[in-house]
Amino acid sequence: MSDHAVRDAQIAPSAVPSRTCFRLRLKTDFMLGVLSVAVMLAGWWLLSAAGVVRRDLLPTPPDVWAAAVEVVTRGYRGTTLWENINATLGRLLGGFLAATLTGVPLGLWMGSSRTTNAAINWIIQFMRPLPPLSYMILLILWFGTGDLSKGMLLFLTAFPIIVASSAAGVRCVKLQRIQAARTLGAMPAAVFRHVTLPSAAPMILTGLQIALAAAFSTVVSAELLAATNGLGWMVISASTFLRNDIIILCIIILGLLGVTLAGLLRALDKWAIHWRGRD
């Protein structure tokens, strides 16, 4: 490889054109990643087993694995692991889907209509920076301690983000495109469907990804505060029984869930919006 290409690869890896180099680099990267995680696991194991950190404060990786086996086979305090994962995911997806189904249309409307935007945008802009857990207590009072208040909480977490990004997506549609379509004789509905929507789609999907991440964080917080099942509940319950191994297990599960959900949305994004970046 020429000198410049090497320099480029070092500074802006994504700009490297060579495909063979790319594949080789991918493999090396993967191996390095695996190595990195392995070193971390080994370090963790060592710290705990050698007693540098008390074992009851930091269980060893095998301890956490044993806890996983225990929870899968014998359940946790009368609940199965599947039950808890289901509960958390159910709440998350319920609130998120409700927010998406109502938020995207509203955002599209707000982006297209100055009147609607002027009437509603101030509410959305006030809701956005407001941490959802801060009004949880009101929701509990209004909707009870069950899943309805949690569902409302997740809905209110995701809704403003989705509305704002959908509206922004519509607003960012290049005017020339709309005008071009109109000069070709397209009706407003067709303009919307074939120009506005596809142009706005990248931003809408970005908003969905951000909203999902926020909702995921919120569902766990809500379960930490007031729940009788779910992964967040498991964490807080395990802490009262000083079961740090179960806490670590739940954190790992939550992390994997988060990565999976984010990855799924990213894949959806790539598949559905193959035109992203080709402006």
């Binding site: 410049h4 320099r7 480029d8 070092q10 500074i11 802006a12 890896p13 994504s14 700009a15 680099r25 090396t28 990267d29 993967f30 390095l32 990643g33 990195s36 995680v37 404060l57 930091l58 100055r114 009147t115 935007n117 002027a118 009437a119 509603i120 945008n121 101030w122 509410i123 802009q125 006030f126 920076p129 407001l130 941490p131 959802p132 857990l133 801060s134 949880m136 207590i137 009101l138 009072l141 209004w142 991440a213 995921f216 964080s217 569902v219 766990v220 917080s221 930490l224 992964l231 964490v235 802490s239 740090n244 806490i247 954190i251 939550l254 992390g255 988060g258 990565v259 959900l261 984010a262």
Partner: protein, 255 residues
Amino acid sequence: MRTLPAWTITVLSVLLITAAWVGVTSGGLVRDLFLPGPLDVWSGLMELIDDGYKGRPLFLHVGMSLYRVGAGFVTGALVGTALGLGMGYMPKLNALAAPFIEFLRPLPQLAYLILLIIWLGIGETSKITMLFLAALPVSAIAARDGVANVPPERVRVAQALGASEWQIFRHVIFPSALPEILVGARLAAGIVYGTLIASEIIAGSSGIGWMVMDAGRFLRSDYVFVGIGMIGLAGIVIDQALLFIERRVVHWAGR
């Protein structure tokens, strides 16, 4: 058909909602526990300013929350940005650090707060460490992407002009990456703020988030509303302040 200017519509909308609020609460349709009226909220605010909350002045609670946000955000954003710059510069570092960054980013922060409290105690350290870890991945990824998106021609031009590695970094790469770094910082600040309030609600004894939770205990909805209002306001202020800085510092963004 004449349409009203946008700001008029907004004002009308605000007035409408306020009127509805006043109507519902003073008409006795809803108990003041569920929804306090504007006057209740105002008197609550006055009381809090005069007498503080549970033995501590209001500004102390607000100050504690802001201090925690500041400490967590600044440390997390600085370390994260530095790490991200390194990751963008050295693909090997990126490969080594990426698993942890990508795992940490979607991980609900409050879940590991419980663990941090067990390890680091109930004081400020556990919360600020959590906030540090909340800001880190977002800043790192933003910085890394910022470096990765530097147009290679700029670098080549600098090299052609005989610039040293450090000069290239300082005058080409860093400024080119700066817009993305600052956007990442703003995002991180938002996450840190939301996480802080949640942590005060779940495991706190002071701060504005805790105050909302504690006032809600005995259904002092007027204090709760004051608290929520202040939390929202502070969030907007922080976001706008960072936006202002962003626009001033990277005035060339988008060109």
